[in-house]
Each structure stands twice: as structure tokens, then as C-alpha cells.
Symmetry: C3
Subunit: 191 residues, 3 copies
Amino acid sequence: MTLLAPSRLLALFVLGAVLAPIGDHVHVATGTTSYFDAGPMIWDSPWWFPVLVGLGTAAIAETRVRLGSMRTGISPRWAVGGLAAVMATYALTGTLCGYPDTLGVVLIGGVGLIVWAVIGDLRGALCGLLAAVVGTGVEALLAATGVFEYATVTDSLLGVAPWLPALYFTFGVAVSVLAELLAEDGLRVEA
Amino acid sequence: MTLLAPSRLLALFVLGAVLAPIGDHVHVATGTTSYFDAGPMIWDSPWWFPVLVGLGTAAIAETRVRLGSMRTGISPRWAVGGLAAVMATYALTGTLCGYPDTLGVVLIGGVGLIVWAVIGDLRGALCGLLAAVVGTGVEALLAATGVFEYATVTDSLLGVAPWLPALYFTFGVAVSVLAELLAEDGLRVEA
Amino acid sequence: MTLLAPSRLLALFVLGAVLAPIGDHVHVATGTTSYFDAGPMIWDSPWWFPVLVGLGTAAIAETRVRLGSMRTGISPRWAVGGLAAVMATYALTGTLCGYPDTLGVVLIGGVGLIVWAVIGDLRGALCGLLAAVVGTGVEALLAATGVFEYATVTDSLLGVAPWLPALYFTFGVAVSVLAELLAEDGLRVEA
């Protein structure tokens, strides 16, 4: 049984699934990533990409709630700012092809730490790290199996971009704050 | 009769008129925009550009005050940070020629939402939307009448850059916060 | 006698000495700067560069403490966010070669003001200005004596990049906040 009510998990799934193709389009349009014969597409993404991101969004939020010690009195604007930061950073990564790896890692990693410092807590950082490991791992697996690829100039981390963990970290932190917000009055009665 | 004292409206006009040519220079120097035979110039801008931005700055501030429900206890540093964010974003837009439209819209739109999330309120968002519609509309009109143009690679929104509404939104939010600050002890006695 | 305990000054030295070569690598790898036969290297930096930045970090912190009026109750996350902002900005400056001087100055200057507006106080701004003057001065001297150079397209400020003072300003502000944090329970008994 989930701690977050099913309707809230569904909303989190939809949020992730709607935002994912926007960022993915930026990566495809800039040549940062390319898909190979990936089946039915939604904009520039294969149909399963928004599904995976949607599931990941709901899973991170449920994880954050299960970790407990949630802050109360968080303003909804923290979630707005956090998600806006994730999307702006997602777009920014589309400009990094051709720059040194260290530049991208320090820039996107720095932004991730700033977002955490402004809205995150320690459990949110844990969710961010989890998102970084799982997200990067799944993408590395998909790249290794030839489903898609990162441009050669930016595939130095197991076949994916070296700044990718930092982007997923920011995503995990922002979703954790959203989870704290949703949990405040949205936990299941059973919880 | 204006609600903000004339001396404050004049200061807002001067602020907008002084900052405008700096950002406009970045757009002209990067080839983002070009003017055609626009009469006497201030740096790279025709004389009427700082005048328009100055008038817009005062008009947004007066509008924010008329909308009421102003927050008290706002720190002047909010206005410093907000205006700095507008100028940094203005400069950043000068790097976007040649990148996909979606990249610019998500990046600059994300920054605008972050600025709102940190310093804005709902009436500030309304002023931001108003600035986005009027500012983009005026620029589209000026582009349509051949006064100036955006580079072909970045003119897909009615002849102007697709990220332009997001830049004006950020501007409107920052000026609204400045208006709240100025109004705290600067409303006309008649008001 | 220093006001900050020697162990804390040493930690500040190490922090600056560890972070410096990371940012410097970005500048060298992007061709923003080049060193000429500078002796033993640490990554892409001559050995004395991390030493200078480490000394500068400790000196700014000690200066901030001596200026007095330190805020209490500052969260450690302010220092995390401030240092992350410095490093992200450092990396961002590696993308500015080839863009107009004004773009870089307004973008990096704007970021510096934002960082100050969020975490700084007036004495922190003073430390930022001091860092800007001394840091830029030392680099200009090193450039003039042929130890290293900035790329021709970005050396218009006394032989160094025009955005350099703004980067040092941000650095000075962030270190000042760290100093306030360390001083809260780390002043020497003699103080």
C-alpha cells in the first residue's frame, strides 16, 4: 500500500510524463541525444520515455514520504521554483555539447547544489542521489543496448553525459519537496 | 492622479531608461536584433527605446500599486536581486541565437518562474503577464513595420524571439516587487 | 594574532586550494586562459595558483570577521549554496569567449548581485569588492609579466577578462558568509 494517495501518485505520474518530452526534445533538437528506431514517438521521444519519467516521479515522491521527517509549512512556490529550476537546467544542458566535461559537471552540479541549498533537506538530498544513480544507470543501460546514444563529444560517463547525474539529482530534490507538500494533507488514511 | 508619488515614478522611469540600452546593446552586438535607420542612437539603441522601457517600468509599478494587497516588510535586497536577475537573463538571451526555440523558451521561462517563486506574489505574476503581452506585442508591431528585426533564426514568435515573453515576465515581476517596496512609504497623501 | 582559529584558517586554505584547480581547468580547457612555462603543474594549473586562492580564501574570511557585525543563525546551507554558485559561475565563464564583453559583464555581474541579495550583507559586499580589486589586480599583473594570458577575445580589462571582477566579487561574498558561519563558535579565546 502506498503512503501517498493514488490520485496524488497519478498526478505526479502525469506531471513527469508531460514535462519529460519537453526536455527530451531539447536534447534531440540540439543533437545531444539520438534515438534509433524506437517505435511510436511522442514529439521527439519514444512513447516509453515519458512513461519511465512519470513512474520515476511518483516513485521518488513515495520514497521521500516513506523516509519520514517531512517539513510542514512549505510554500507551494518552493515546488514551482524547484520544478522550474529542473526544466531550465534540462534546457541548459542542451547547450553543453562541445564544452569540456568538467565545465558541464561543475555548472550543472553547482546548480543542483544551489537548488538543494534553497529548498532541500537531507532526505531530499538522499532522494536526489537515488535519482542520480538509478536515472543514470537506466540511461547507461539503454545506451549500451543501442536504444539511443549521446553525442560522442558528451558520452564519457558510461556512454551518457557526465552532467546527467547532476540533472537527475536536481530532479530528485525538486520532486522530494513536491512530495512534502502533497503529503501535508494528502496521506492515505491507512498511513 | 497616480498612486505612486511623481518623484518615484520619475526614478522608475530613469531606472528603466538607464538599464534598457545595456541589454539592448547585448542583443545588437550578438546579432540577435538589428535596427534599420532608426534616427538618433543612444549606444546601439534608437533614442525612443530607453524612453519606452522607462515608461513601461513606471507603468508596471503604478499598475502593481493599483492592484492593491501589497506585502510589507519586503527587503530592498529583493529588488536588487530581482533587477539583477532581469539583467543577467537579458544578457543570457544574447547567447541563444542558433539554439532550438524550445531550449530558449524553457530556459528563460524557467528562470522567470524561479524569480517569481523567490520574490513574487500573484499580483506580481499578473503584472509579469501584462508586461509579457504588451512588451511582446509592441516589439512584434515594430518588427512588422520594419523598424527593427530579430535574427531569422530567432524570430518565430510573430517576428520576435520566442523567449521574449518570458524575459518581459521576469521584468514585470521584478518591477512589481520594487513597486511594493516604494509604495510602503511613498504613496501620495491623496491616495 | 588572527581572530579565526588557525585550524579554521587552515580548513579555509584547503577549501580554496582544492576548488581553484577545478575552475582553472575549465578556463584552460576552453582556451579562456593559457599558462606559459609556469613550473610544476597541478592538473592544468601551476602549483602556486591553488596556494594563492587558498591564501585569499583564508584572508577574506579573516577580513570579514575583523569587520564585525556578524549575523548569527546563518544556516550552513547558505555557505553550500554560495560556494556552489561560485563554482557554477566559474564554469559558466568558460563559455563566454567570443561573446561581447558587455554580455559577460552583465551576466556574471548579475549573478554576483543575485548571490549577494540572497545570502550577503553589506560587509560581505565590501569583502566581495576587495576580492574583486585584489584578485583582478594580481591577475592583471601576472598577465602583464607574461606568466599567463587570457584569450585575445576576452582580455579587454587590463589584459584579463572583463567579467573577472564580478566572479571574484561572488567569491568574496560566499567566503564572507562562510566566515560568519565559522566565527559563530570558532573565534579564538583571545578574541
